[in-house]
């Protein structure tokens, strides 16, 4: 049996005493790409937020183990340093902080966590410029304030750029396809695909099947009313596209 990267067991999460996740169970092995689909309000974004440690969520029951460690016990920055990366649905604009500054601060935080020295300035520039090219971005983006005045597509590409530089083990993509036109979606998907490796896993959260045309998942899950109600292969996504979510809601996993 392969070693699990992420193991979510019977997870119950509430916001302000309102239960959102109600016993979610999900396992991800290294190298696998999992898609979580579901109707609005099913708890998809809550899942991504609670995994990344966003404040405001209360775990009332269950556990999340990441590489054998209790993920829920870690501060958000420790999760990041341990290799969990969240690509935000709505990337935050940070005026006055340049992209390259954030990338360097983040990379050095990771390296420090691993007991490595700070990255050499020249090596860093070479690394970042290579990743910028990969995502077909203009180098000028590096010197602009993080996400400030970026278009929707630029923001999503910028998230993937950060992932490319930080090389996470588990990459959570929260509605990465939302707000993207078809060209932007293709570029973002190519960026994600270039990051796929036998050691790196992905959890893609999406409302639409469209993204899955570009990033082929190994497993597709349906999240409804706080639980995984059905799991299957890529064909499940196509079935959902055809029939909608109605037939699955209220069904137990």
């Amino acid at each position: 049996m392969t070693k699990r990267m992420l193991s979510i067991k019977n997870l119950h999460v509430s916001i302000n005493d309102k239960a959102i996740l109600k016993g979610l169970t999900l396992d991800i092995n290294p190298g696998e790409v999992h898609a979580v689909m579901g109707p609005n309000g099913a708890g998809k974004s809550t899942l991504s937020h609670v995994l990344s440690g966003k404040p405001g969520y209360t775990v009332t029951e269950g556990s999340v183990s990441y590489n054998g460690k209790d993920l829920l016990d870690m501060d958000p920055e420790i999760r990041a340093r341990e290799g969990v990366f969240l690509a935000f649905q709505y990337p935050v604009e940070i005026p006055g902080v340049s992209n390259i500054y954030l990338l360097k601060a983040a990379l050095n935080a990771m390296r420090k966590h691993k007991g490595l020295p700070e990255v050499d300035a020249m090596d860093f520039l070479t690394l970042v410029k290579g990743k910028v090219k990969l995502l077909q971005m203009d180098e000028k983006f590096l010197y602009r304030a993080v996400n400030e005045g970026f278009s929707g597509g630029e923001k999503k590409r910028n998230e993937i750029l950060q992932a490319a530089v930080l090389e996470p083990n588990l990459c959570i993509l929260d509605e990465t396809d939302s707000g993207l036109d078809i060209d932007a979606l293709r570029i973002v998907a190519e960026g994600v695909n270039s990051l796929r490796s036998p050691e790196r896993s992905f959890l893609m959260i999406t409302h639409y099947q469209r993204l899955l045309d570009y990033i082929k998942p190994d497993v597709v899950h349906v999240l409804a009313d706080g639980r995984i109600v059905k799991s299957g292969g890529p064909a499940l996504a196509l079935e959902l596209e055809e029939k909608g979510y109605g037939w699955l809601e209220g069904q137990a996993a």
């Binding site: 501060d75 920055e77 969240l86 935000f88 940070i94 006055g96 935080a109």
Partner: protein, 433 residues
């Protein structure tokens, strides 16, 4: 009754012995000016919170302590030199007295820099044409106090048409506890001339009182960039006023960095003529129990003037910041174009900022805007940085630094900019840019 205020009385008593050491004793016009100022001070003492322009700032320490002039025994040169700008001429004032030994002013064309005390002895007629031209004792009683008590200062005269490439730094240093440093600087930039002046205030970590006034006279199409870097010691009382009279087509740009002192008040007032431009930028950063007050006044007296004002405040712990920005557009000052903005960041629930933009517009064909915000760091921004591996404290520092750095970025002088960045990084430690 304020007139009977204990401290004002004590200052007046001390003045009787002090007066013999003040320059210009033999000049009737100066004696008259000092006499009137002393009379105003005797009547009302230091400004009180009952005065509209002082309502947020109580000068309680000044009313309890009698600071007195102290002759500096020794100056820590390493400390002093660490604030010197390499690419600038430098006039040094120690405890309010010009020090020719510490100043570096040679090899300069087009500009004359003199100690006020020496100029009053050698060529008082020159001083008479400048002193009191941009501000009088009527302004408020710290100006009156300065008029009566000033002991020295720096007089800068730039000849017409001179483009001065090298900036002048005026370094104010206080080296003794309980010292009183009262200075008057006079800057005259004649027609079509251009210069940059940087004032730096530093002092020991003891109680003392700096009261410094600059009078600035800008000729037609003259250009002055004046920066103030206030890094007084943590127990210091500081008053610094800059009063400007701009001739037509002149440009005045001011950068006000208020970072030090226990209580510090800046006045930046400018009177504009036809088509003059005035830019006032400011940043005040306070923590502990610091109180930093910034009072600005832009007076558009004639048509076609342009003013741009942008101040930012960062207040932590129990600190208090004040921004009062007044813009007056006179009835005949048509086509005035004025913008004012003040943005404040509160880092603690005990910090406070009082911000009061005041627009008084008597002309009907003008473009004037103003905006004020008071806010905190956004949780979503802090979390975004944390999600990239940055710890929460550093994330807050990065965001605060970025907020403040916008004002440092407006400084063109590279050396000054790097000194300011260093000061910000000490306050908000994060990876440097």
């Amino acid at each position: 009754m304020i007139a009977a205020d204990h401290s004002a009385y004590s200052y007046l008593t001390a003045y009787q012995t002090l007066v013999t050491s003040l320059p210009g004793r033999d000049l009737p016009w100066l004696q008259q000016l000092r006499g009137e100022a002393l009379q105003a001070f005797a009547e009302r003492g230091f400004p009180g919170v009952g005065e509209e322009d002082w309502r947020y700032t109580a000068l309680s320490v000044l009313n309890k302590t009698v600071f007195a002039p102290v002759t500096a025994q020794q100056v820590d040169l390493d400390w002093l030199n660490s604030y010197r700008l390499d690419d600038a001429a430098c006039a040094v004032l120690v405890n309010g007295r010009f020090s020719s030994a510490l100043s570096v002013l040679n090899g300069w064309d087009g500009v004359t820099v003199s100690a006020l005390s020496e100029l009053l002895a050698d060529n008082p007629a020159v001083v008479e044409t400048m002193l009191g031209q941009a501000v009088t004792s009527c302004e408020h009683n710290l100006v009156a106090f300065n008029n009566a008590w000033f002991a020295d200062g720096v007089v800068v005269r730039v000849v017409a048409n001179a483009q001065i490439d090298k900036p002048l730094q005026i370094l104010h240093v206080v080296t003794d506890a309980q010292a009183l440093a009262v200075t008057r600087n006079l800057f005259v930039v004649n027609d079509h001339a251009d210069i940059e002046i940087i004032e730096t205030y530093i002092g020991i970590n003891e109680a003392y009182f700096t009261a410094a006034i600059n009078e600035v006279l800008l000729g037609c199409n003259a250009d002055l960039t004046l920066s103030k870097v206030q890094l007084e010691g943590g127990k210091a009382q500081h008053f610094g006023g800059t009063y400007v009279r701009q001739a037509p087509d002149s440009r005045f740009a001011h950068h006000n960095f208020a970072l030090g002192g226990l209580l510090a008040r800046s006045d930046i007032h400018s009177d504009l003529a036809q088509a003059s431009e005035c830019t006032l930028n400011g940043l005040f950063v306070a923590s502990g129990r610091q109180h930093l007050d910034n009072h600005t006044r832009i007076n558009h007296a004639k048509p076609h003037g342009i003013s741009r004002e942008f101040y930012k405040g960062v207040l932590d712990q129990r600190a208090r910041g004040v921004f009062q920005g007044r813009v007056i557009v006179a009835e005949h000052a048509q086509h005035t174009d004025s913008e004012m903005n003040n943005r404040n960041l509160l880092l603690s629930s005990d910090a406070e900022v009082d911000t009061k933009p005041q627009l008084e517009i008597y002309a009907d064909d003008v473009k004037c805007s103003h905006g004020v915000t008071v806010g905190q760091l956004e949780d979503k921004s802090v979390f975004y940085l944390q999600s990239r591996g940055v710890d929460e404290a550093t994330a807050r520092n990065i965001l605060t630094f970025a907020f403040a750095n916008e004002m440092v970025d407006k400084v063109e002088n590279a050396e000054l900019k790097s000194l300011l960045l260093k000061e910000l990084l000490v306050r908000f430690p994060a990876m440097s840019l």
